[in-house]
């Protein structure tokens, strides 16, 4: 018998006493009360808690703010579909991992922001680029539109498309592996700079 058939057979035998005919659907998870005040402000506060750099600006100021957020004289890569003009930046064109490692910073858009947990979710569409792009460079500038920010995790899960690869980012790379003390900066970008732009 194949391993597949044997395992499925064992599962069925193990569950012989279980009658699922009367099982009811799992209730939806409870939702937190809407946060008092502005979800965008809560998002900024919660992202800052992870020791990421956060700021909020208008569309008119965006290009200047992004430029100021980048390391001076650094090499910058951007995803091919990013709609922000960044002078001197290279658009990603299947750069190898080693080539990405030689880049100092990356600028991407995002798919959704979660206020309660201070999380940015990328679903790696053309304005965010493939997964390696926002991983290998040490400095990630992420532009989130204020209208992309939702209150809590369930709102994000409902909006996201599971068929797309996703990266949920909550602050810069960190570890608690040494005496359970949180330290920022291991393998992912050590600087996360989030710019929320009001439309």
């Amino acid at each position: 018998m194949s391993a597949r058939d044997e395992i499925l057979g064992r599962v069925r035998a193990a569950l012989a006493d279980v009658d699922t005919s009367a099982d009811v659907a799992v209730p939806a998870a409870p939702r937190s009360a809407a946060p008092p005040g502005d979800v965008v402000e809560l998002f900024l506060e919660r992202v800052a808690d992870y020791r990421a750099v956060v700021e909020r600006c208008s569309v008119a100021d965006l290009v200047e703010r992004v430029r100021a957020a980048l390391p001076e004289g650094g090499r910058v890569v951007v995803p091919p579909g990013l709609e922000i003009e960044i002078v001197g930046a290279v658009a990603d064109d299947h750069l190898s991992a080693a080539e990405l490692d030689a880049v100092d910073a990356v600028v991407t858009a995002a798919r959704v922001g979660i206020a309660e947990t201070g999380t940015i979710v990328l679903d790696h569409q053309p304005d965010q680029g493939r997964r390696a792009l926002s991983l290998v460079p040490d400095h990630h500038v992420c532009v989130v539109r204020a209208d992309q920010i939702v209150p809590d995790v369930p709102d994000a899960v409902t909006m996201l498309d599971p068929s797309r690869p996703q990266t949920w980012i909550s602050g810069p790379s960190a570890t608690s592996d040494i005496e359970l003390d949180r330290v920022e900066g291991v393998h992912g970008p050590r600087v996360l700079h989030v710019i929320v732009v009001d439309p």
């Binding site: 395992i7 899960v157 393998h187 992912g188």
Partner: protein, 493 residues
């Protein structure tokens, strides 16, 4: 390449050795205290936490109650998404599948995301036997691997090490595994993390094959989810050409929406954060992004044994957050090595006997007793596994599995003697007279007194030694209830 748990002594013996190590006890007390505070403060932020736990438990239960259907659906969706699905009955089959994939790509090394299941199946040792080096990339796993040590915690396998010990391991062992630690390395955690970053970067950039586990596997969409902090997971899941994920069959979630309670429960219970730094989800192969050859190994390795136990199957709800370890008064004092398994602490005390069976080896049979049944683990568990209930159930199974032994355990002899005495009034009267006499002797000559002044027996020799080596036995009353009743006519005179 790394040590194994094979041949570990039973819990009481291993615990005694751990308790005698003051450095270990200091490291553990400090770390568990830190994490308990962090968890308590972020859990307190969520007024609906209790309801969320109920839903979390219900989601996992609904997955387990129709596990066969969900597994078939998961396989279908994964294949439709371009992944190759393998099934492994046990550790050896799973290791062989991973080794075969690596060998087919002529890989002499693989990079690994921290994963409990690959520890459980001894994948690193199996790959080493085939000449393939498996590099652990999680910081704590790297510390354990370089130190030729054993993991002692689910989330933080090097919890038993302090910063000075870690610096020493990096300075003496990193060079043999690749890029050496810098000469001026200090014991500042940020500097140690920086050294790990430099050491592993070259491995990430050149790796062709990566191995991961998964925190969740969504059946409906064929999506795997890895929850991590450092970015080593993202490196492994994204940069290599080939990805092999070993997934226990209990990791299944029915629907994408059911990820919501889990992603609210897990980070707060685990690292005490509102959200962990990085979570990656992927559904098979994404053209032009990440590994273009994706394998998923669905592993049984005893999970169907646990599923067949109607009390114990709730243990398969476990999402490996390790909250139960951090609150356990036993774990806090003995550390993880004493449990002799990659799954230590309260969850390990039930999971190991459920996966391996009771009555098979003494070490596993000792685990359900490694608890005071205080219940702190159940309170902390985000998916409400009633660990004390399962511990008591497994103790019953351990006792039952020894009923036919030719040489009875002292406990069984004592129980048989008690049954003999209690089943006949005259025998009971004789026993009561003997115990009354013992009470008089201890009261008169014994030096030990319990709080409140009641006399107690100190260390007694013979069969009672094991019991009294760590406990005071109260002296039996001088007069039994029946004798008192007879003497006073039921208290009337």
């Amino acid at each position: 390449m790394s040590a194994t748990f094979v041949g570990m002594p039973a819990f009481p013996e291993a615990a005694r050795a751990a308790l005698a190590d003051p450095q270990l006890r200091h490291n553990l007390a400090h770390a568990t205290d830190t994490i308990r505070r962090k968890r308590a403060s972020v859990v307190a932020e969520i007024p609906e936490w209790e309801e969320l736990r109920l839903v979390g438990a219900a989601v996992k239960d609904s997955a387990l109650r129709s596990l066969d259907t969900h597994l078939v659906e998961l396989e279908e969706r994964l294949v439709a998404n371009g992944a190759v699905v393998h099934w492994a009955r046990d550790a050896a089959e799973a290791c062989a599948i991973v080794a075969e994939v690596a060998t087919r790509h002529s890989a002499e090394e693989v990079v690994k995301v921290k994963s409990m299941v690959t520890q459980e199946i001894g994948l690193n040792e199996a790959l080493a036997a085939q000449g393939i080096a498996a590099w652990e990339t999680d910081l704590a796993e790297l510390i354990v691997q370089l130190g030729d040590d054993l993991p002692s915690h689910i989330l933080v396998p090097a919890i038993h090490r302090n910063r000075a010990e870690i610096r020493e391991i990096f300075r003496t062992k990193m060079a043999a595994a690749g890029r050496p630690a810098p000469d001026d390395l200090t014991d500042d955690p940020a500097a140690l993390a920086g050294a790990a970053r430099e050491h592993l970067r070259e491995k990430f950039l050149r790796a062709k094959v990566a191995v991961s586990g998964a925190n969740f596997a969504v059946a409906e969409t064929g999506t795997l989810v890895v929850v991590e902090s450092e970015g080593n997971g993202r490196m492994c899941l994204t940069l290599p050409d080939v990805l092999v994920s070993v997934v226990g069959i209990e990791k299944v979630l029915p629907t994408w929406e059911s990820l919501d309670p889990m992603m609210r429960l897990l980070p707060r219970s685990s690292t005490g954060e509102r959200m962990n730094p990085y979570t990656s989800t992927w559904s098979g192969v994404t053209p032009g992004d990440g590994p273009q050859e994706v394998h998923v190994v669905l592993l049984d390795n005893g999970r169907t044994n646990a599923l067949a136990d109607d009390v114990g199957r709730q243990a398969l709800r476990c999402i490996r957050c390790s909250a139960c370890l951090n609150v356990c008064p036993v774990y806090e004092r003995t550390g993880g090595h004493a449990y002799g398994s990659v799954y230590p602490g309260p969850i390990g005390a039930i999971l190991n006997p459920l996966l391996k069976g009771t009555g098979v080896d003494e070490q596993t049979d000792s685990l359900p007793y490694a608890s005071s049944l205080c219940g702190a683990c159940f309170e902390a568990c985000p998916v409400r596994i009633d660990i004390p209930e399962v511990l008591v159930h497994l103790r019953t199974k351990v006792v039952d599995s020894h009923r036919g032994d030719r040489v009875l355990k002292p406990e069984a002899v004592a129980m048989k003697a008690a049954a003999f005495a209690f089943s006949d009034a005259r025998r009971l009267a004789l026993a009561e007279r003997a115990s009354g006499l013992a009470g008089r002797v201890i009261g008169r000559w014994g030096k030990t007194r319990l709080p409140g002044g009641r006399p107690a027996a100190g260390r007694i020799p013979g069969p009672g030694a094991a019991w009294t080596s760590a406990r005071d036995m109260p002296a039996p009353p001088k007069e039994s209830f029946r004798a008192w009743w007879k003497r006073t006519s039921g208290g009337r005179s």
